[in-house]
Symmetry: C2
Subunit: 348 residues, 2 copies
DNA sequence: AACATCTTGGAAAACGTTGCCCACTCACTC
DNA sequence: GAGTGAGTGGGCAACGTTTTCCAAGATGTT
């Protein structure tokens, strides 16, 4: 009976490299970090030793003194494909650097968010990117005071962290204008009900709802403003649409605050025996992957997630270099992707 | 001009706790790790000091000597909602432990997988869960020799790592039997073409294709076996369906090896002017979130991702405790979810 | 030739935690 | 009363890097 697993061989350390290259560990460290004060000859020698031994720096040990070359990304919901776009933008932008991105999953709710952010700080990460956090401002400021931080998808400016977001106000107007141009007047909206006063003005859902109202007024449709307050979930869309369809005068178009909400709305509409888009138009927000699937073909607002991610990465790298730099806010303009769930309203 | 950011206060360390509690750092460390040799009195005193100071252990420093309490999960494609199910199973199972899950994103291709696995090893993670890796067996064995590892969604047994997978062979049979029961005989399959001989027998896609053929033979439909070899992508589904629809005798049902493949197939079918399921039935695999959306309503094989994740977590924790334990293989049975894309074939 | 400055390389001290080992106390036994 | 052994608590040396110095040599300047 031999043991099935061989004892793992001791890992190559910087000392091994230094011995092999006949130099000091300081010299090796300098080469690793591209630090000042190494001759080209020395650099080559060390590089070769590193390659020959297959040396890889121990990140934990690095973290004790310097950087860990790790960037933590907090993702509230791994299922939303829009977040995947952001992540692609991030990783593309960081691919050529020495930084490694690690994701903290399953952050639904404030407690979970706090757990993940703390875990990332405990692991001495060099920077954090928080995507659509719902934590309090106080918590965000506290995190940002501890480690360089970029907040994505949340409005409101802080002196402690940079932020990148889509212009949700303009995005909502894109939808309203598109529907109004098609001839709709009874355009309703399903929003995510914001319970927390603290976040009220900062969350995208609130901004979208405000943008919807403002755009309706701008089109002279102030009297037609009609909002169902539920949640940004499939269920929320289902319930919201049910509410709206029960109105004395039914809306001819529904602007769902998110694509997943639109999916629920489509359910309720089909159950009510109505056709999309002949009887009623539906538009979403996020332009998630499934919105493009042919059987769905959902008109939606595209947030240029890739660019959002790239900007977040850029800002974070900047801030890691200079923590005193004044905070920046980046707003990106969304675009409308029209597909087959929106059409002129039915003749009266 | 005041500086906008206050200098981050020095972090509380184990030394601070020890001083505050009037004990040694060793004692604090023992309490932290629930190690043997601390009296209840001592434990309470230390716990209180920890709470009063808001101390949190530095994971990097821990990694130098002991564990990092971090588990790395490699996810090849964050967009596949099936992986999200696995992740939920994982995190649920690990929620009550001290372990934190961190995800390595963007691992499409062998190089990227190697980069991520190395990055996780460099960060002294206590264990790794690799989901549907496409790396060579040699690489997997090497990783598993270095750190406790569980491989998910890949068949083939190793002595170095545990594995958890769906029984893809049985899953394929579920689809074939369902379609055959409906009266179909010309049941075609779109597979992911396996280029790598090394992985041929281990990858789910290959097993599904084999299962399809075996099930067809079992139903006496050996002569009707018809496979389009493309890739597990939307494009692959589109191209595969185009090939199949161009056959002299058209199939009446298409078993797509993955839901996303089915999406592409639906595109091609609609373009050919055919209706689903009246003219042709379509089934997928994975039961991804969008399969359930009403406009899609795709018949699909459900893999019990939650259980897969929970099992992977359990096996990993076991292995962290005992690295010499013989490797285990877990196979879970899939189930079929019938929806509206499958129906009896059209009358001849 | 004397002096200042820059460049290059290394020695040694952190960083925060854990693991090993030893010392002490206290009860119990011979 | 000496010996035994379990139960507690602490001292100290790792762990693998980076950082801060300092020294020696090379180069330039008067």
């Amino acid at each position: 009976m031999d043991t099935p697993v061989a004892p793992p061989p001791r890992r190559i350390t910087i000392v091994d490299v230094a011995q092999h290259a006949q130099v000091s560990t300081t010299a090796v460290s300098k080469v690793l970090r591209n630090a000042y004060g190494v001759s080209p000859k020395m650099r080559d020698r060390v590089r070769q030793a590193i390659a020959e031994l297959g040396y890889r720096p121990n990140a934990a040990a690095r973290g004790m003194r310097g950087q860990t070359y790790t960037i933590g990304v907090m993702l509230p919901n791994i299922r939303n494909p829009f977040f995947a776009e952001i992540l692609d933008g991030l990783t593309d932008h960081l691919a050529d650097t020495d930084y490694q991105v690690l994701l903290g999953p399953g952050c639904n709710g404030r407690e979970a968010e706090a757990k993940v952010t703390h875990a990332m700080i405990d692991r001495s990460m060099d920077g954090l990117i928080l995507i659509a956090p719902i934590s309090t401002r106080a918590h965000l400021d506290h995190v940002a005071a501890t480690v360089p931080t970029v907040v994505v998808g949340r409005h409101g400016r802080s002196r402690a962290y940079d932020s990148v977001a889509d212009d949700d106000f303009a995005g909502a107007a894109l939808v309203v204008d598109h529907l109004a141009d098609l001839g709709h007047t009874r355009i309703a909206h399903i929003e995510h009900h914001e319970t927390d006063r603290d976040c009220l003005a900062e969350m995208p859902n609130a901004i979208r709802a405000a943008g919807y109202q403002q755009a309706m007024r701008a089109r002279g449709l102030a009297d037609e403003i009609d909002i169902a307050s539920t949640t940004y979930t499939q269920d929320g869309g289902y319930l919201g649409a049910q509410q709206l369809l029960a109105r004395p005068v039914r809306p001819t178009a529904i602007f769902a605050g998110a694509d997943i909400v639109a999916m629920g709305a489509l359910d309720a509409i089909a159950e009510a025996g109505l056709r999309v888009p002949e009887d009623i138009s539906v538009a979403g927000y996020d332009n998630t992957t499934f919105a493009a699937f042919r059987p769905i073909s959902l008109t939606s607002v595209d947030q240029a997630g890739h660019q959002i991610g790239a900007n977040a990465a850029r800002l974070l790298l900047d801030r890691i270099v200079d923590r005193q730099r004044p905070a920046a806010q980046v707003r990106l303009s969304p675009t409308l992707v029209t597909r087959h769930t929106t059409a002129p309203p039915p003749a009266p």
